[in-house]
Structure formats: structure tokens, C-alpha cells
């Protein structure tokens, strides 16, 4: 149930004296705080946190959830994000006390069940990707990328080679060059050809003795398989570089092809994409990395190992790049993915990819008559369209996306990859029924018609959501990033005003 009214902030619902918690009375003799701490250490002004009853709390968050759209609410064809169904059994299992109420530092003998989950998951992800070892530590895909690049750096350094360049295609996700930068490496961008594949000529020109790695997504962010992947691998390996696999699109190839067999040396996976880790509104995720044996010495520490029947944490990895995240990774997400893999087995995962790819091709061909198709070839689990035709009529992809909101859909990914004009990237996933796909296709066709017959309704969309388009310019020019009580707000504004008069410059 949505409402067009503004929604109160929890602070605006507060009233002193109300509580939504229950703690027992202290059962130990009381000590005055100022007998424990010097007076100056004690908090003078309490934090202005909300004061509400439990019912108000639940109404507030229920109200917020009603103003949000998840996969369970409706179709979510976000290209590159793999918005597939999040199984409920996963949610149950992570809440078992034996998984939720365990501490990372408790004795290894007391967490054998958890260690076994990690050990088995390491092995299963290795098998799925064709790698020799896996680290489950990185908290997200981007962190996995960074950790893998650090391993690549360490590998080259161990061989006495200084290689500082990372090659990325122009279709790469922003995290690829960003991770390279944060790993202390330079990015070199190469273009894609008209088929949407890496330009081999350019690649040959650009590789050299300073090439640390080529980062590639396969299928690419255009949803297209790099047919020359073996040649690409040869070119990079001959120059002494390594091949890095961005696993964001692993949903297309499980049981069909493995990065390890394509020539990749190191991979990362996004468990919150292919392996149903819930997106949670933006996280948490998990970004395990896998590698071939040459890179095993550099894996983050610790690794989970098995000695006889016992599972252990192995910190003795002398050439490890070290730790990238506290403890052992996002166990709660790793466990959900593990349950998902067990629910599918080898046949299930194969079907996942086959059906994801069939769904995407079906949608693509259904929509091709109405929207520009930049790459007229078989796609994998996602495809891109261009709003070029519609742009000529004064309607942009952004407008089409906003109009889809009126039809009850989350729009596809827009304006990525950067090389496609007015780009729309659509990924249906395998968990959607044909009826859902057909309904979405109908909506897209209806909008295409509107663009021709009644463009204003698209340009001014959305019309039925609880807020219309938001002023993002003012939000960035004059950021308001926290709530302040009205009286406080005036005081702050006053202070800022007098500062400005003093001519203070940033």
C-alpha cells in the first residue's frame, strides 16, 4: 500500500519517555559511573536517538518497506546485477543459532561445522570456476577485484618483474579501473569492436613488459561471449601478463564453460549476484576470489584447510598478500550461497545458466523491432538495447526507465556500459516465468508506442510513484545528509552564515 504523502522520519515520531526495548535490571551491585571514569570522560549530552514505542517502530519500518521495491515485489531486470529470487530456506539456515551465534575467535574445535561450510564452499567454487584454490575473505566484488590485483602484483614482484599496467576494455565496470588505482596500478583502456568484442589489434599493441594483467568480464558487460578468449589469453600470457576474470556474469556459464578453462588465472565471484546472496538494499555482499596454482602462495590469510577429519584455519601463508577483511569473510552471505549451491547440485546450476540465457535471447528478439539493437548476435544472460531511436523523438532512456516505474517494474540498468548510446541493459534471470517476461515485453512495447504518440507522458514520468523525479542537482550542491531538529537547523545555518561572511575558503 503506497501513499503519496510524505513519510515522517523516525526522529519526527519521537516522544521522550517512550521505549521499544527491554533490558533486565542490573543483577550486580551498582557502581557510580564517575567512580569508574574521570568526570571529563563521561558523556555530557546524550545522543539524540529516537524514543518510540515498539508499535511505532514496527509501523515506521513497515511503512518504509511499503515504499520500497524488492525482487519479491516485482520484476527487476537490472543488467549486470543478476536480480534472481532469494530463496527463503537460505534465510532460515543463517539464523540457526549454531551459525548466527558463533564468534570468529572461539576455539577451532568449537566451530567445526562453520569451518566445514567454508572449506566445502572453497572447494565447490573452485570446481565451478575451474580454479585451484579459493579465498572467501573479500566482502564484496570490488574488494575481491582489489585483492586479486594485489595478488597479481605480488606474483610479478616475486619474479623480480615490475609490471604496473592493467588493461581494461571500455565496457568494464567502474570498479575495475578503480580497484586497479587503489591497488597502486595504472589503467590502460582498449576499445571494443563492432561485434562487442575486445579489439585484438589494440590489445596486441598495448601489451608489453609492463602489463600486469588484463581484466575481462566474460560474457562481457554487453552480455556477449568473447569468442576469441583463447587468443586473448595467449596474447596476454605471451607478454608475461595475467588474465583476470570479473565474475559478475557467471550466471551465464555455470556448467557450460569455466574461466579456468578459458585461460584465466584469477577470478572473483559476486555471491550476491549468481549465488542468491540477497542484495539487501545495497549490501552486504561477498566477493570470493579463485586462482590457479601459480598464485596460490599469495592468497589472503587465513585459508580454511582440512587435516584428517579436522578443519583448521591456516595462517601460515608466507607470501600471502595479508588480510583484506577482518575475520573470515561475510559468513552469513557465504552460508546462503552454500545452501543455494546444495539446493541445485550440478544439474540445477547447469539449468540456471541455460535458462537464464534462453530468457535473455527471447526477450532480446521480442524487443528488437522496437528498440535499437546495437549487437545483432546471440547474447548470453543479458543484452543491451539503445534508446537511440527514441532519443530522436525527444525521449531519453532515462525517461523510458522512469515510465517503467509506472508499470510496476524496476527499470533495467541504464547508461552502462558507457560505449552504447542511451544504453539499457536487461537481465531477466532464470527465476522469472515466461508470463512475467511477456508482460514486461508488453510494457516496453507500450512505452515505445507512447514515445511516438504521446512522448510527454514518458518525458514526465513517473506519474504513479510516491515521489516524482527528485532534484538531484540541489542534493549534490547543497547536501543535507542528516536530520536536524528545526531549532538546531536554524542554529547551524546561522553558524554557517557567519562563517561565510568571514570569507572562509575550503
Amino acid at each position: 500500500m503506497q501513499t503519496n504523502k510524505e513519510k515522517e522520519l523516525i526522529f519526527e515520531m519521537s516522544k521522550p519517555g517512550r521505549v521499544a526495548y527491554s533490558l533486565p535490571e542490573s543483577d550486580v551491585p551498582e557502581v557510580e559511573l564517575d567512580a569508574v571514569f574521570p568526570a571529563q570522560y563521561l558523556r555530557k549530552q546524550p545522543a539524540e536517538l529516537p524514543e518510540v514505542s515498539e508499535l511505532d517502530l514496527m509501523r515506521h519500518y513497515t511503512g518504509l518497506s511499503n515504499r520500497n521495491h524488492g525482487i519479491d515485489s516485482g520484476f527487476y531486470p537490472l543488467g549486470s546485477c543478476t536480480m534472481k529470487y532469494n530463496p527463503k530456506i537460505n534465510e532460515d539456515v543463517v539464523r540457526y543459532p549454531g551459525f548466527a551465534k558463533i564468534h570468529p575467535y572461539q576455539a577451532e574445535e568449537t566451530m567445526q561445522g562453520a569451518l566445514r561450510v567454508l572449506y566445502d564452499l572453497q572447494a565447490e567454487l573452485s570446481e565451478i570456476t575451474g580454479m585451484d584454490a579459493v579465498s572467501l575473505q573479500p566482502a564484496a566484488g570490488a574488494q575481491g577485484e582489489w585483492a586479486a590485483l594485489m595478488m597479481i602484483r605480488a606474483y610479478h614482484e616475486s619474479r623480480g618483474e615490475k609490471r604496473t599496467k592493467v588493461i581494461v576494455p571500455d565496457t568494464a565496470h567502474g570498479t575495475n579501473p578503480a580497484s586497479a588505482a587503489v591497488a597502486g596500478l595504472e589503467t590502460v583502456t582498449i576499445s571494443s569492436d563492432e561485434q562487442g568484442n575486445v579489439n585484438l589489434e589494440e590489445l596486441r599493441k598495448v601489451v608489453g613488459a609492463d602489463t600486469a594483467a588484463l581484466m575481462l568480464t566474460n560474457p562481457s558487460t554487453l552480455g556477449l561471449f568473447e569468442e576469441s578468449i583463447q587468443e586473448i589469453a595467449e596474447i596476454v600470457h605471451e607478454a608475461g601478463g595475467l588474465l583476470y576474470y570479473d565474475g559478475a556474469n557467471a550466471n551465464a556459464i555455470m556448467g557450460i564453460a569455466r574461466p579456468g578453462d578459458m585461460g584465466f588465472d584469477v577470478v572473483h565471484l559476486n555471491l550476491h549476484k549468481t549465488f542468491t546472496g540477497p542484495h539487501g538494499g545495497g549490501g552486504p555482499g561477498a566477493g570470493p576470489i579463485g586462482c590457479k596454482k601459480e598464485l596460490v602462495p599469495f592468497l589472503p590469510r587465513p585459508q580454511v584447510v582440512k587435516e584428517g577429519d579436522t578443519y583448521r584455519l591456516d595462517y601460515d601463508i608466507p607470501q600471502s598478500i595479508g588480510r583484506v577483511k577482518a575475520f573470515y569473510g561475510n559468513f552469513g552471505i557465504l552460508l546462503r550461497s552454500f545452501v543455494y549451491i546444495r539446493a541445485n547440485g550440478p544439474e540445477g546450476l547447469l539449468r540456471v545458466s541455460q535458462e537464464a540465457v534462453l530468457n535473455a535471447n527471447y526477450m532480446m528478439r521480442k524487443l528488437a523491432p522496437y528498440y535499437d539493437l546495437p549487437y545483432d548476435r546471440i547474447c548470453k544472460h543479458e543484452f543491451v538495447l539503445s534508446g537511440r531511436k527514441q532519443k530522436k523523438l525527444g525521449v531519453r532512456t532515462l525517461d523510458i526507465a522512469k515510465r517503467l516505474l509506472d508499470f510496476g517494474y524496476h527499470p533495467p540498468t541504464i547508461y552502462f556500459p558507457l560505449i552504447v548510446d542511451e544504453c539499457m541493459m536487461i537481465e531477466p534471470t532464470e527465476t522469472e516465468s515466461k508470463e512475467t517476461l511477456d508482460q514486461f515485453i508488453d510494457a516496453m512495447i507500450a512505452i515505445a508506442k507512447e514515445v511516438e504518440e504521446n512522448p510527454t507522458i514518458v518525458q514526465e514520468a513517473p506519474h504513479t510513484t510516491i515521489v516524482s523525479r527528485l532534484d538531484e542537482v540541489t542534493a549534490a550542491r547543497k547536501p543535507v545528509l542528516r536530520y536536524r531538529k528545526p531549532a538546531e537547523e536554524n542554529a547551524v545555518r546561522k553558524a554557517e552564515g557567519s562563517q561565510a561572511n568571514e570569507g572562509a575558503l575550503v
Binding site: 545522543a47 514496527m58 527487476y76 545495497g282 577483511k325 575475520f327 559468513f331 547440485g345 544439474e347
Partner: protein, 451 residues
Amino acid sequence: MNYRYLPMTTEDKQEMLSFLGLSSEEELFADIPEAIRFQGSLQIPTALSEPETVRHFTKLARQNVDSSEYAYFLGAGIYDHYIPSTVNHVISRSEFYTAYTPYQPEISQGELQAIFEFQTMICELTGMEVANSSMYDGPTALAEAANLAVGGVAGKNVIVSKAVHPEAREILGVNAKAQGYEVIEIGCKGGVTDLEALEQAVNEQTAAVMVQYPNFFGAVEDLASLEKIAHQHKSLFVVSANPLALGVLQPPGAYNADIVVGEAQPFGIPMQLGGPSCGYFAVKEKLMRKIPGRIVGQTVDQEGRRGFVLTLQAREQHIRREKATSNICSNQALNALAASVAMTALGKRGVQEMARLNVQKTQYALRELAKLDNCQLVYHSPVFNEFVLKVPKSVGEVNRELLRKKIVGGYDLGRDYPELANHMLLAVTEARTKEEIDALVQGLGEIGRAN
């Protein structure tokens, strides 16, 4: 085997293939070279039905000792705290947990507002002006703070106290190596950062001075003195703070900290083997445009209604790409929501009460342990809910004996501090009862006596 997540029927498949003019879906993979096609079946266990899943994982879970049956006196960065029952109900709403990042704000106002509220609460607790929507965890937030302070300028160093969590320092080291700046570690005296050593070490190239509050040994650091030293040399003063402790302690913002980071796990997030948790990152307004991660801002729509959007996105990786100073993409949204719900449920009064209970229980434990003659309390600075205890045998052996009494003992400080072999870091939260504390004291008292 039924695949309940795969709706495609044979009929569906036929219709779709026929529309595409294909006879089998195999043709959709024709562009994958035969030489790299995977042959056979993935060598992973066969699928489990749902009841088998429940059985299998219940068994696995039971192989772990957990806090529903054992009294945990183990902290060191992850704590056993009261989690209000409402938290789980809120984060189990699928509109929240199955949603993506709120890039389409019109249908994500729920998530965006929840994060805006989280940002506000973090500012309130830490006394800072701006907070982002969360980081992977406290330790990586600390590393990002160092990266921000150094700002890509060559020749800089950051100074970190050895009383900062060992794993946080390790992660900081990995980051510093990647970015090419130096990390200088300062030792401790009496379980707190050695101020003299810090004075000596700070120089013009020091971009940041970083401490933990309370520190890894549980002690409350003298932020006033530390801040003076940091700012005297124009370095940023960075504090990693336990947000629950800020229910009773003066927040780092009151001490003019430039950046405050930390772990929000004490609020609403189960221990979960240490992950996922929820880091936070808060700064003074002047650093607003430099902070990593997602930020939610308030604005209006075309009808003038209040709404929320992700803002200042030009800082982020998807826009900056190779010019980015941080590659962070996701935040810990669902956990930030859990923390928000917990902070709301506890509220202004509850956070203070819960923090006070931590102090009371810890003080009681300290007094009782002081009566033992086979163990020693080695530091004497005020502590919040953790402290160091010298024990008569190795920490591993002591913990094994305590385990028999259904007690999970403290952290082995000898792992990271050679001079603290046979010293245990014990945490006493509000979740510990007097009986449990008495059992711990008795259990420790018996060590080394039976033989």
C-alpha cells in the same frame, strides 16, 4: 529433483525456442569454442531437497558451540549483545532484503530514508557532522580513513597505536602497501597509547594519527591529549570507536576528531563468525566531498515533497573509475538497517542504559577477579566492557577448561603481543548474568589447583 527456483516448463522452452527459430538451447552457446566447453558434470554434491537441507544444516550448526548455550566472555571486536526482537522482523521484510541499491529513488524511498536515519544516528552517537551509508567493517573503514588522509600525496605516513585491533592494523598495512604510504606503529604503556612515543613519532609528513576508543585492551584512551598531538602537527585525528561505548563516553566529535570510524555490530547484528558486520564512517563537514562509499541526501521532488536520493555520486567508482580514490561499491545496507532498528529500539534511553549495564557487569567481574590469587589484572586504566587478565596457564588451556563449564573464555593476546603471552582479553557485556560471571570467576579460580 524439483527445482522450485526454475519456473521454465518444457512447454515454455518449446515456445521460446520456436520463436527464436532454434531447435535446442545448445545453439545459444554456439559462440563458445568447443575447446573450452566444460565436459561432463560439475563435481559438486547432488542437490538436496528442502527437508534434507534442513536436516543437513541443522546437524552442521549443532557442531558449533554457540551463545544460546554457552556464556561468552569473548569480544575483541565482535560482541554478544542483546538484539531486540524487532530487528529480525524488520530485516526479514523482503521489500528490504531483496531490493537492490537505491539507484531508482522513486521506488526506493524506504531504503533511502532508512539509510538517512542511520547516517543521522551515527552522527549523533559520534558527535560528527557527516556520516556515510556504511562500510564493509570497522577495520576496512579505518584503512579507508588512512587513504583519505594521505590523499594520494607521496611521502606521507600514518601513525597507528598498537592498541588498535591487530586485524585492523594488518588490513591497514595491506592498504598502505598498495597505495605506497608508510604506517608507523606506536607502542603502549599501561595498556594505553604511549603519548611520549607518539609525540616523538609525529612529523610534518604524518597525515593521520589513529587510535581506538575504547582500545583493543578495553581501556578508554585519553582523546584530549591525543588530539592535541595530532593537530599540533596538522595531521588528521582519526578515532575508531565502539558506538555502544559512546552511550556513556564523550564522543570523539567532542574531542575535535576529524574522522570517526568503527563497527556497528554491537547494534542489532549477530556475531555470525565475524561477518557480515557493518562499518561506519563519519567526518567533519569539510571532508564531506572526500569520503568513500554511498551517501544519502535529502531533497524534494517536482511537487515539493521531501524525498531522499543517493548523492555526491561523483566521488564514487562508477563515475571516477581510474581516478577513484576508493573502489568501494556496495555498502552493508541490510546490516545498517539492522543497526538502525536496534538504535531506534534502544533509543536515547536504551543506549545509555545498555552501555551502563556493560560497565556495571564489567566492574563486578573486575572486583571479583581481583580476589583471585592465581590471576592478575595487569592494567589499571578505566575500561568500558573489556579488560586484560593474566592467567596461570596458556590461554588455550584455560579456555579448554572453561569450555567444560559451558563458558567461552577470552581472546589470547599472546597471538598478537608476544609480551602478553598467557594474557586473556575478557569481555563482559550486558548479556552476562551475575551467575555466569560468578561461574567464570570460580572456573578461573580453579585453574592450576586441581592437580
